[in-house]
Amino acid sequence: MVLTTENSSPLLGYSQKVDHLLKKKYPKRHHHYRFSDYFSFDSPSGSVVDWNDSRNIFAGEDFIVALLEGLEEEVGSASSVVMYSMGRHWGQRDAESFIVWFEQEYGFSVKQSSLSFILETWWWPLASQGWGNWEVDLNEQKNGFMFINVFDSAVARTLGDVGKPVCHIYAGLFSGFFSGLIQKQLNCIEIQCYAMGETYCKFLLGKQDRIDAATFWQTEGGTARDIEKRLQNGEYLG
């Protein structure tokens, strides 16, 4: 898993900006999401920058485990809320910078582009960084919610089968990003997780009422399929 900072920290003693060598040679190259293309490794300084000139660090599974277990030790069951909140803030800020970056990269705004192109363009760097592959399911768009499937979630893959959803940071990320993208308040919940023995993680994105309903059904023991059916049938709380 790769974590990105906003910019290089002067405290680390790097007075010069580290260049991405491939980008310097081909600044207009859009297809730059292979691992070897997206990252540039500067051995003398020991730093890694990505195509967008952000400093990156590589974090192993130990880091993920330590983060989650440490958080749980500090705040108990509220750790899932903390992780969701972290993801949400991340997603909101990422949406703001993504919209600006997209227009600079392609010469037209996100409002003029195909939705699938926008979404894949946003997710590709995250996939390169090891956050997993995804699939956006818009089949239920007419019912006011959508599903996002994540394959190889960094968090779930690390924790293994623990019997409960663990990808709260992903749920927060999707909530924050899509809210920022369409300028409407959206929430997200993970209704199926690799850490529950499933083959992939499934997230429900929608308005608060649908998420509340899904949360309730989930705590009552409902599976992802049950939740999906109930939402399709128009069952909501309140």
Binding site: K111, S113, S114, F117, G144, F145, M146, F178, I182
Partner: protein, 115 residues
């Protein structure tokens, strides 16, 4: 779009560059006698899904003179009909002129209207 009779003498790069990779309707004129299953008009997904990847053609298809290429042929038969010794411009990335979506795909406004 090139005529099927010219495929055997067309370079590989040109052949692939005129295929509708983005799944959009081609604006090029169709041949005078369009074939019902002209694979040049298929989306990338449909095209590759219809190829007999196992190498066992479903039909014993033999290419007719000047016509022959069919997506029901085995992979070997299909690719043996190209002029591989054409002008060496292998691996040239075609110039892609990005423009805003004009197809009926969803955009951000559509996504926003869902919620």
């Amino acid at each position: 779009m090139i005529d099927r009779s010219q495929w055997a003498t067309t370079t590989v790069s040109y052949f692939f560059s005129v295929l509708p990779w983005q799944g959009r309707q081609t604006t090029a004129p169709l041949p005078e006698q369009p074939q019902p299953l002209d694979f040049r008009l298929l989306s990338v997904w449909d095209f590759f899904a219809s190829i007999t990847w196992s190498g066992q053609p479903q039909l014993a298809v033999m290419p007719e003179q000047g016509r022959g290429l069919s997506n029901q042929m085995s992979v070997r038969q299909f690719f043996s009909h190209f002029a591989w010794q054409g002008v060496p411009s292998i691996g040239v990335v075609p110039q892609i002129h990005l423009r805003p979506a004009q197809s009926p795909d969803l955009d951000i406004s559509d996504l926003s209207d869902l919620f």
